[in-house]
């Protein structure tokens, strides 16, 4: 088996796995009961989905300038994603939308 074929297979697996995670994130956003739990599902789409997809594309482009840009895109996505999530979460908290499904961890549950 040639190296190019192995790279193609690994990259194909990574791209597919990324697509599956993006789909699961979307499915979770539909199934969850409230905003905060939906954001947990959406963060699968935000983090591991694009990470796997971009690493898959990097394997296709090899050691080129395009790969450097792809790494930069991934880095910016991972650095700015949580900022947007925090802005959304605190805006909804400030608007008085309580995480009603969540309860505080009780003292007994703390290990």
């Amino acid at each position: 088996m040639s190296l190019a074929l192995i790279l193609d297979i690994v990259s194909w697996l990574l791209l597919s796995a990324g697509g599956v995670f993006v789909f699961i994130g979307g499915l979770g956003a539909l199934r969850m009961p409230d905003l905060y739990t939906r954001m947990h599902a959406a963060s699968v789409t935000d983090t591991i989905g694009p990470a796997l997809i971009i690493v898959g594309i990097i394997l296709q482009s090899g050691f080129t300038l395009a790969s450097v840009k792809l790494v930069a895109i991934l880095l910016f996505l991972l650095l700015t994603g949580p900022t947007a999530s925090n802005a959304l979460a605190s805006a909804s908290l400030l608007a008085g939308y309580r995480p009603e499904y969540a309860r505080a961890l009780t003292e007994e549950e703390r290990q």
Partner: protein
């Protein structure tokens, strides 16, 4: 606060300028004199603007690259991977076994940049979401009890606090 090699304004200025120039060169990949001059010009303008904004004077300078930071990113990637699998399992379970909790985490580090790194790492990890950061206390929403317990074990907190040393 521990002084480090990014404490002096000149080291900070040099770090930012070099980062900007490298970014321009890598983004364009075209080395014509006109484009290089334009790149240098935009780097200088950006540099002057952020200097006017007080980027180098206050203690919010976040462009600290070190071997430790890369080790932390690798550790965080592993955490993101495993918690993604856990959240995926919850989503795909027909019963949707969620058990959301809210907890408060006190940051081990007194530095604002470290606290932001910790809060963003918590949000980046699927299954835990930082709701609010105020005076070093991070309010966290967790999808499951296990996720809350994992955060309370304090490993992420310790690792972020250790970033600033060396």
């Amino acid at each position: 606060m521990k002084p480090d090699r990014f404490h002096s304004p000149h080291a900070r200025m040099a770090t930012l300028f070099v980062t900007l120039v490298i970014a321009w060169l890598l983004w364009s990949g075209i080395f014509m004199p006109l484009l290089l001059a334009l790149g240098l010009f935009s780097c200088v303008v950006t540099f002057l603007l952020v200097r006017r904004m007080g980027f180098f004077d206050n203690d919010f300078f976040a462009l600290r690259f070190s071997r430790k930071l890369f080790m932390y990113w690798i550790w965080l990637s592993r955490e993101v991977f495993y918690s993604s699998l856990q959240v995926a399992r919850v989503v795909l379970d027909p019963a949707l076994p969620i058990d959301p909790r809210t907890i408060e985490i006190k940051s081990d580090s007194g530095h604002l940049v470290d606290q932001v790194i910790l809060a963003n790492s918590i949000t980046l990890t699927p299954g835990t979401l930082a709701l609010d950061l105020h005076q070093g206390i991070i309010k966290v929403h967790s999808l499951t009890e296990a996720g809350a317990q994992d955060l309370l074990s304090g490993e992420m907190n310790r690792r972020v606090d250790a970033l600033r040393e060396g």
